[in-house]
Symmetry: D2
Subunit: 148 residues, 4 copies
């Protein structure tokens, strides 16, 4: 299994077992080791009291992207801290794309920037997240059996 | 109308018009000007691929608490930036409580810390958020009519 | 040696060997395991181009407080990520006090909030920091010999 | 005066009047509207108790870069919140370079990412900062007279 195949296996297994990412309607656009691109559409039930997309929904998309990118190396990796800036409001029907960038990777810590764009170009979220990398491997056979 | 009554009106109107906070099952425990306590229960569809509560769900609860607390003063206030730390994993069935603390309030900027606890005592999320305070008032009559 | 004595030993050794904290004029007000209070005075050479205290100086005070508090348990602990909010500008001559609060402590991660106040009461900085706790003990005898 | 000339005037005036950035030994490598590159060398008095560069020093370099980039558009802009991740330790003698990227700019809020590299290539700091843009113009004539 190549590194790219392992990355694809881990990400697809994680998404298949992730009810909240499925509720969000997240689709995987692209995967490589340490990197993913995800996409989703903002639905009515994701809006806040101002009629804009709830800040937690945008954060959740970026957080799923972080989790998939960080775990794609094959080690179980858990979110420690994340921050997000919101330069523009987001509306119902907008298509959001989240692209990860791996800023740094050591044995124990990984740091990622995720840029969320609307409708292909305008930046609507800038996310930075830190994961703690455990020594535990993703057991792909077991994970795959989850999907059956 | 007292300041407390205005705070209660704003928060209840915001929650009533907030489909995502309703999907989360958020209940208001306590309101005073600049401060709220919210509560929700973690359901199966809020879990991630590891079987824990998705980090975006915990963030969303804290973000709703921030929005309600910041807007309870009566000025429309929008999230600019937030960060969250995750000291412990959260499981299905856990009851989460978010309590806001207003650290600072100027004409244009408000800063809030929100502590999320599990089952009444253990800290599972530490959130810090900054809002931009517009000069626009919450129009309560109009907002109240939303609720009818 | 009690836990409090060990905390005092670690913090005093760290400060004695920390040229930048000494340049800042940091004094230790109080130490207990997992907690410190520090104090410093803003000098002319700490100002920025607007004549206010440089944001990096306030951050540095909070960061030293984080490092001292986190390491006071006796394990070498390194800053992973920190964020700071600046509710008010700070001026030359202001006395800054930084008080730490340990929000969470696990084997590998510690999370701290540090509130910086001016002249005893007004909040001028809200800092949140995450440290990675190594398995390495502070070797106090060796550290003490650094001071000779 | 072109936008680039105004950016250069603002940045050089700010640096000339900024005692702490001068203490750090910050040099301007490049300026354009909304963007700067800065450089400095880590000196012995910038180290912490572990013998590494103090986290506050790296933050200060990034914070100065943020301030120069944000103010280079000509409006007085003040730091509201910043966060920094530290993927690698930094040592005495290292040459640090900070490059800004303007992620978003509205009338009232600007968002910037600053990457700090060591010795030209290795990432040692990832900074994200939010500024509040006042309506006040930089008065260049007055500022220039400061420099005489």
């Amino acid at each position: 299994m190549t590194k790219r195949e392992r990355a694809e296996d881990v990400v697809h297994s994680m998404l298949n077992n992730d009810p909240f990412s499925k509720w969000l309607g997240i689709e995987v656009v692209e995967i490589s080791p340490g990197s993913v691109t995800l996409r989703m559409k903002v639905r009515k039930e994701m809006l806040n009291g101002f009629g804009y997309c709830h800040g937690g929904v945008t954060f959740s998309l970026a957080d799923s992207a972080l989790a998939f990118a960080a775990n794609s190396h094959g080690k179980v990796s858990l979110l420690v801290k994340a921050s997000m800036s919101y330069p523009e409001v987001i509306r119902e029907g907008d298509i959001l794309t989240a692209r990860t960038e791996e800023q740094s990777l050591s044995n124990s810590i990984g740091i990622y920037t995720i840029i969320v764009t609307r409708n292909g170009h305008q930046k609507v979220g800038i996310f930075q997240g830190t994961v703690y990398r455990t020594r535990k491997d993703h057991m792909l056979n077991q994970t795959q059996s989850y999907n059956q």
